[in-house]
């Protein structure tokens, strides 16, 4: 698994069936993502913000190769040992 911060545009209208959300989340199968910019003005100009994601290596490789998004940083997630 990979953890990374990625820049992405917002998409959506804010309606219940078309919420404001990161374009990246609809384009790739992410394990999780969180808005780390915290913009109160959703969809600013330019339309760009940062999300922190977790995903598989294969998904990360595809995102990194996609010119629609920029990777700010990425690191492998340590496999957890219980306990």
């Amino acid at each position: 698994m990979i953890r990374a911060q990625i820049t992405t545009p917002w998409t959506g209208t804010g309606a219940a069936d078309d919420e404001n959300r990161p374009h990246l989340a609809g384009a790739y199968a992410l394990s999780s993502w969180t808005d780390v910019t915290g913009q109160q003005n959703v969809v600013p100009d330019p339309n760009l913000y940062t999300v922190e994601i977790t995903c598989t290596q294969a998904v990360y490789d595809a995102i990194a190769a996609d010119p629609a998004y920029d990777v700010l940083w990425a690191e492998p997630l340590e496999e957890r040992i219980e306990p």
Binding site: G12, A15, R21, A25, T34, Q40, P83
Partner: protein
Amino acid sequence: MLGPAVSPVSIRKRAATAALSWLLRDEYSSAAAAPLASPRTADPGPGTFTLVQNDGQFSVSGGSLQIPEQGTATWGDLGFYTTTALSRATGRALHVRAAFTSAATGDRFMFGWSNAQDASYANFRTPAVYPREGRIELYNVGYGSVDAGDYATATAYDFALVLRSTGAFCLVRGGAFAAWTLLWVARFDSVANLYPSLAAYSLAATVDRFRAADLGTPWDGDYGIALGRDTFTDAGGTSLDAHTPDVDPGGGWTESYGDWEIYENQARNVGSNPGDAGWLATLESGAADVLVESDITINHTGSANGAGIVLRYTDVDNLWLVQLNWTTSELRIYERNAGAWTQRASAAVTISAGTPYRVTATAHGSTITAWLEGAHKISYSAATLNQSATRHGIRCAGAANNRHDNWTCYPRTFTAGAAYDQLEALRA
């Protein structure tokens, strides 16, 4: 005839200064070189511990128990436990004040109520506090870990594990937790015989207090600290706003949007979709920083279907929502600001229609955090909308007949009142 007036100030003062009757009390005031003798008589007592020092040795200096890093980290080689059990009793609290020297990979140890006399992790219940690699986790054998926040090194933390009839309240004060903070409400495990224990692994630490006492009201009830609670036990078809919650801070439920009713002793949304806000019901709790949990069942598998916990509601256009989204198989944090829905965080989860899932959400300052079945999933740390709003509740979307059950709202922090006074007496 009326009696003399009683000053509320004098009542608070008396509660704050009430002394606890210690069941176990080790405060490490007398220096002792390594290795410590076993059994150890608690200082000043009461209590006696069996010490295991197969790899690493305890010492006492500067008013603290010194816990070294092991040479070869192995659970069961370094730790201690009481020589006699303390039986489970609601409100019975273990207090540990500890500081940790490192947050490096592999660093961890554990303390809490164990069901066996050993120095291993394998029998901790209720759960145990599990400082690990810079994070405070809560570990219950058989149920895994809850990730509850960060710890800073070389910083003293007071932990309290307050037993319930099942599970425990897990609290911390220290570092970034400036006030007593309810980290988690564990709902598993009712084992009776419990041994206050500590199991070291590879994290060097100091412990200044290792004590147990019985707390009084409101900690002596499973839901004594709850700001609101509802098992939705009532006649089928009762409107939610005509139903009295089990713990009602006053006013009961408001069906804020759409229609709700009691059905099979659960709350469900009924009728057609009322619109963009979805079905909303809210309750005044009196606190903005809260821990809220609900057992959520998605029964309808149509599109845009989900159900969740509402936080910091002021009106149908302004609120926070932690939603279990059946349509996308995700747990999401939403902000609804001036009528616009914005996803702030999301995690993929596996859920099945017709199965209840425990969703837990906390609102603490500007951070909203969401768990599913005790597993931390997502947080959002810029939640400034409605930060002082005190109404929380339930929501459903998509179609009718989704369910909420065992909805409970606890305060996230304690800064005044009887519950706080008891914690401060424990910490004194």
